[in-house]
């Protein structure tokens, strides 16, 4: 029995391709935006693990970096931060 080696040999199949932003720039859904105070951040990485959108990247030194293009502004990071280093601020415009 032989198996297809490449996608061209596959029968015609509807296939979705992995894309960052498959639903567009979801940052536009946001009304409040999380702002990190890096001087009080303890680099515990809790905000990173609890972010449902993966919009928080963990830097080399474990401090968080928020991607505002995709952050939906749910506020979980601000609610879970043990030292309250993340605050939610109202979006202008």
């Amino acid at each position: 029995m032989s198996f297809p080696k490449t996608r061209k040999e596959m029968p015609l199949t509807p296939l979705s391709l992995p894309t960052v932003g498959s639903m567009g720039k979801t940052g536009s859904w946001r009304t409040f935006k999380p702002v990190v105070n890096y001087s009080t951040c303890t680099k515990c990485t809790l905000c990173w693990i609890y972010c449902p959108d993966g919009a928080i990247t963990r830097r080399e030194d474990d401090s968080p970096e928020i991607d505002y293009e995709y952050c939906k502004g749910c506020g979980i990071c601000a609610n879970e931060c043990p030292v309250k280093a993340i605050t939610m601020e109202r979006e202008e415009e």
Partner: protein, 301 residues
């Protein structure tokens, strides 16, 4: 025990997906990929996750994924596991990822069949206690008293105890988890990956849209569910029942928070009377008496 900082930085659930803000199941999905990496093959029936993927021809999943009919998760996973075995690709973990409707109501027949055939796969039910993506209808996993669009005065029946139904299939591993306790969930997934046979993990995934609470409280509500005892974290390994941290500290009733704290945070329970809350508390205490007996005895589930 794995610590949060040991988890990999790679993301296989790409940002910009279509889940609601504060989605509990998305946290569980991210943890799934943190635990198993990208050597997985997902089978997803109709559920919120089909929405999270985004519209064709794009998807937010950077792993192979097969969409399937509502009732066929177990059957499809059986087929894929067999195909991978024939091709010698047995380092790939087949994961059935279904919502509570697709597990406890519609998909139970296919899942039961797959468990009986001892298909080598992990079945994960992420439980948001209603049919979320079709507009919140009642499911078999909706708890007593909860408002949904088809139970406008609150559900009158109790939640189906799915982990114990699966344990009755004599499968090697059954566990419950909650994304509010990420290391516990990751440990259980990694443990399940090493076991051969059907593994079942039931994840309580709070849903801000359906449970009617502020989106920032998702993790807090999941934690409260465990602390009040309405959701217990346990595993059943070859029939042996064991409570996991922090549920193992909550066997004594005095250590559990009153259930009112959990119910009052969610608008779906706001019509409940004191008598009904009392009844729910009584049921929880009964359940814990059962857990205590199971955990302290040699008997198998």
């Amino acid at each position: 025990m794995v610590s949060i900082k040991e988890l990999p930085r790679e993301e296989y659930l790409l940002k910009g997906h279509a889940a609601c803000a504060g989605c509990g199941p998305s946290i569980a999905l991210r943890l799934l990929f943190k635990a198993l990496g990208n050597k997985v093959f997902l089978v997803v029936p109709a559920c919120c996750t089909t929405v999270i993927q985004g519209p064709y021809p794009y998807t937010s999943f950077a792993v192979p994924l097969q969409n399937m009919l509502f009732e066929a998760t177990g059957a499809t996973a059986s087929g894929i596991a067999a195909a991978l075995r024939i091709r010698g690709l047995e380092d790939i973990t087949v994961v059935g990822w279904a919502g509570d409707g697709g597990t406890v109501d519609i998909g139970i027949q296919a899942l039961s069949g797959a468990a009986e055939r001892e298909t080598n796969f992990i079945y994960i039910c992420y439980d948001n206690e209603a049919y979320g993506n079709t507009g919140l209808q009642r499911s078999g996993a909706t708890p007593y008293g909860a408002w949904t669009t088809t139970t406008p005065t609150g559900k009158k029946e109790r939640k189906k105890n799915m982990p114990f139904i699966m344990a009755a299939h004599k499968i090697p591993y059954v566990a419950t988890a909650c994304p509010s306790y990420p290391t516990d969930f990751v440990n259980k997934l990694r443990k399940a990956k090493e076991i051969k046979g059907t593994k079942y993990i039931h994840v309580l995934a709070p849903c801000p849209t359906g449970w009617r609470y502020d989106s920032s409280k998702t993790v807090e509500i999941g934690r409260l569910a465990v602390q009040t005892g309405i959701w217990a974290l346990y595993e059943i390994e070859n029939g042996k029942f064991r409570l996991n941290f922090p549920s193992d500290r909550l066997v004594d009733k005095a250590k559990r928070k009153p259930i009112k704290e959990y119910l009052s945070m969610q608008e779906r329970f706001r019509h409940l009377t004191e008598a009904e809350i009392e009844k729910i508390q009584m049921w929880i205490d009964e359940d814990w008496e059962y857990y205590r007996k199971l955990a302290s005895s040699e008997a198998c589930v």
